[in-house]
Symmetry: C2
Subunit: 152 residues, 2 copies
Amino acid sequence: MESRIERIKKQLHGASYKLTPQREATVMVLLENEADHLSAEDVFLLVKEKAPEIGLATVYRTLELLTELKVVNKINFGDGVARYDLRKEGAARFHHHLICIECGAVDEIQEDLLGEVEKVVEKRFGFTVKDHWLTFHGICKRCKSEGDTKGK
Amino acid sequence: MESRIERIKKQLHGASYKLTPQREATVMVLLENEADHLSAEDVFLLVKEKAPEIGLATVYRTLELLTELKVVNKINFGDGVARYDLRKEGAARFHHHLICIECGAVDEIQEDLLGEVEKVVEKRFGFTVKDHWLTFHGICKRCKSEGDTKGK
DNA sequence: GTTATTGCAAAAACTTTGCATGGGG
DNA sequence: CCCCATGCAAAGTTTTTGCAATAAC
């Protein structure tokens, strides 16, 4: 079975890009931290551990490239920083996010909950949906159970 | 009947802020361009027409203030710029956006289409939803009908 | 060899902050 | 008087760009 990095390499080649060592290190960092939502700076610091000579500009250029290839999505949670989130392979739509306003945790929902909503959008507004971005703000399960413990 | 600006004035006063001429001019610009999604710079340039002496920093400070009071939402569509979008008065949730990948138009859906989805999120993930941000990317009605005209 | 890619440094773009000044009550 | 709010300029952050050096084929 082909590895994830192999398939990304093919995507790069298909678009006439190379998988240089720097690009590979960057992709590896993203794969190893798939649950996180790393900023370019975060990625840079992690990549530096593998490839100390890499420059920040290269990380930016690589992340831009991966965004273009739809390997990652560039997201923005309101702080002034862009973050990069791996797309599930072959997913037609970007996954949803749950942001806890108490503890700041960012969880992901991989399951697509918007099928019916998109049908409504297409019918009622004549808009052909290609992708979506959905984020909920609220209180996560963990913070709620902490509240219980404290008897509040 | 009380005007929108009057009610915003009361909101400011309720939080111990004044509706200064600069703040009023900024709010007026937002009200007059409610359909748009203005950046701080956009707002600044429009406010300057009414109050030429205003500084960019004041516009930023006012927009931050209005965000805090939930009069506007600060949004980010992926270009590196924050944009400010008036909330509907009394709305519990932020409205949805439709971004056309052909022409770049940003339309709004005021109707809340996420009621059922939020129930699922609350039940299945134990997450109490307080607000949401939903944006669709796709082809708007206008671009599709243009396509028809061209016989494509 | 030729072309893509990199690292560095400089620049750009956007936003925030410090501070003296000004205005209202 | 006091204090909030302002304008300006400076500083801060994040991201992009220019360019010579380097690496890949």
